[in-house]
Subunit: 323 residues, 2 copies
Amino acid sequence: MKPTIKDIAAESGVSIATVSRVLSHKTGTYSEKTQAKILAVAKRLGYRKNSTAVELVKKKAAVIALIINATPTNFSTQIIDGIQRRASELGQGVIILYAGNRNAELQHQAIVTALERAVSGILLAAIEPDTEDLTLLKESHVPFCFVSVYLGTDKVLSVSSDNEKLAATTTDYLLDRGHTHIGLAGVDTYHTGSQRIIGYRRALAAHGIQETTIKYGDYSYESGRQLLAEFLPLKVTAIIAASDMVAAGLLNAAQEAGIAVPEQLSLISIDGTDICRITTPALTSLTQDFYQIGAQSVDRVMGEKAATFVPVKLVARGSVKRL
Amino acid sequence: MKPTIKDIAAESGVSIATVSRVLSHKTGTYSEKTQAKILAVAKRLGYRKNSTAVELVKKKAAVIALIINATPTNFSTQIIDGIQRRASELGQGVIILYAGNRNAELQHQAIVTALERAVSGILLAAIEPDTEDLTLLKESHVPFCFVSVYLGTDKVLSVSSDNEKLAATTTDYLLDRGHTHIGLAGVDTYHTGSQRIIGYRRALAAHGIQETTIKYGDYSYESGRQLLAEFLPLKVTAIIAASDMVAAGLLNAAQEAGIAVPEQLSLISIDGTDICRITTPALTSLTQDFYQIGAQSVDRVMGEKAATFVPVKLVARGSVKRL
DNA sequence: GCACGTTACGTAAACGTTTACAATGCCTAT
DNA sequence: ATAGGCATTGTAAACGTTTACGTAACGTGC
C-alpha cells in the first residue's frame, strides 16, 4: 500500500497532526529536530501526499478547469500555454475539458464536471454560453471567466481582444492603403462575429462608405476556400479574414482561380499565428496575443488584477497591396 | 452551502446509505418509490455530487492524466482530441499537465502531480523520460503509456507510428521517383529521431546507397529555415522533413533563396497536418494518424486491446518531382 | 514561588462519500 | 406455526488529510 501520514507517524513516534504540520509547512509549529526526523522517514517510505484527501477537507481543489471549444482553429495551444504557465505560478493545476464543437450538451456536461470537482475557477475558451449554462455558473459561486470571448457586458468576467476596435483597426489599415471595396469573411453569428462587424462598419462609415460585404463562416480553412467564390462577383479589392485559417483558405482558393495575391486581391487575417508566416505570400495580420489572453484570464478568475482587453498589433507581411 | 447526501437524506426521511445507493445507481438495492422520492429531492435541492469525496473512498479517480511536451509542433490538438473523446467514452475525465519543453524538472513535477491524484492512468505525449521518471512511474503501479514515442521495447506501453517503417516508406517514395541524393532534416537525437534515421538508412542501403545526409533539429519552423542553408552545398535533390513545420521552414527558405520547389528541390514532410495544405506548393507528406494515436493510447492505458503502431499513409500533394 | 507566555505536540472531529454488515418486514414452502 | 429467503433499509466504519482545541513542559519576570 501507498504510505500515508499515519505510517510516517507510527514510524517516527509522533502523532499524525505533527506529521501533517511538518509536511504542509506550517512553520513555527514544530521543532527542527522533529521536522528532520519526519522528513527523513517520509523520504524513506516514498511518501506522496494524497491530493484528494486534502481537497476534501479543504473543500477546494488547487485546480483551474479550462473548458474549451474544439473550434477548427489553431490558437488554442497558445492560450493553453498562457493559462498553464500562469496557473502554475499561482500554485494551481489545470484540468482541460473539451466541449466539442458548439455542442450544447457536451458544453453543459463539461461545466457540471468542473463543478463536481470544486475547482477554484472555471475558464471558458471560445465558448458561447446559453442561458442555462450561465445560470448554472452563476449559482455555483465558483468564479468563472470567458476567454477570447467578450459577452458585451462587464458583469461577466472575460478576457479577450477588443473585437470592435480590432476590426476597425484592420479596416482602417486597408482604407489607408486605398481600398474602398472591402469584404469581411468567415465571421460567426455570435458575440465575436457581431462585434467585429460593428467595428468594420464603423470604420467604413467614418470614411463615408455604407456598402458592406459580409460572409459568415466557422473560422475553418474549408470555410475560407468556399467563401472566395462568393466574393468574386462582388468586386472587392481586399478581404479581411476572421481567422488565419480562413485567410489561408481564401489565399489558396485565389491561387487556384488564378487570382494573384496581393496584386489582384489583398488579404489580411485576424489572429496572427504561425500560419501567417507559412503561406506564400506571408499573410499580413491583425495579431492577437493569445498567450496573454490565457495568462490574464487566470489572473482574472483568481481575483488578481487583470485587463478585460488585451492589446493587439498589426503585423505587415506580404498580402496587402497599396492601391 | 452546497447540499450533500446528508441533506437529501434528512429531507426525504431515509438514511444517507440509501441516498448514496440511489444516486450511484446500485440497482436492485432500493425500491422504485424511494428512488423517485430521492431523485425528486436531489433535483429540488440542486444536488451535485462531490467527486473528491468519491475518489477518496474509492481510492481511484476516474481521470486520465496527460503529460504533454510543449514541442514547437502542432499535432497536439489532434492527439488531445483523440484522447479526450475516447476517454469520455470510457467514463474518464482528462487532466492535462504541461511539461515545458524538454524540461526535466517540470516533467518530473508533472508526473508527481499525476501520482498525487490517484489517476487511473498516465499518458505521456512526446515525452522522452529519464531513468528517474521511469522508476517513479514503474513503482507507482499506475498504468502509463507513451504517446507518439516508442522507446524501442514492448516492456513499456506505448502507441505511436512505426518510425522506422515510416521513414523507410518515405525514403522509398523518393527513390521510386528517381531521387538518389536525399536529405533528412530536423530529426531529434532521441528515440523518434534515431528510429527514423534507421529506416532512412535501411531504405537507402537497399538501393545500394551508403551516403546519408542528416541534419538535426527540434521540429520547429525556425529549425527548418536554418537547415536549408546546410543542405544546399550538399547537392541533395530531395529532403525529408521531420515535421510539417520543418518542411514549411525549408520551403520558405528555399523560396527566399530562389530555389523552386519541387522543380529544383523536392520536399516531403512527416506529419501531414493541415499545414501541408496551406503552403504553396502543398506539401506531400507521410501522414500520421494522430487522432488514432491518442484514442488508442487511452485504450492501452486502460487495459483495453490496442495497437502499439498506428498505420500511416503517404499523401501526394505538390512538393515532390519525379526525376 | 507564582502567574503567564511560548513552544511543541497530541486528541479528535470534520470533509462527503461508499459499502460491509446487520436488521427489519414480508412472503413462501413446509 | 416456522424456517428460510429476499427485498429494502439502516448503522457505522473507512478513505487520508487538516485544524481547532487542549495540554504539558519550560522559561521569564516579578
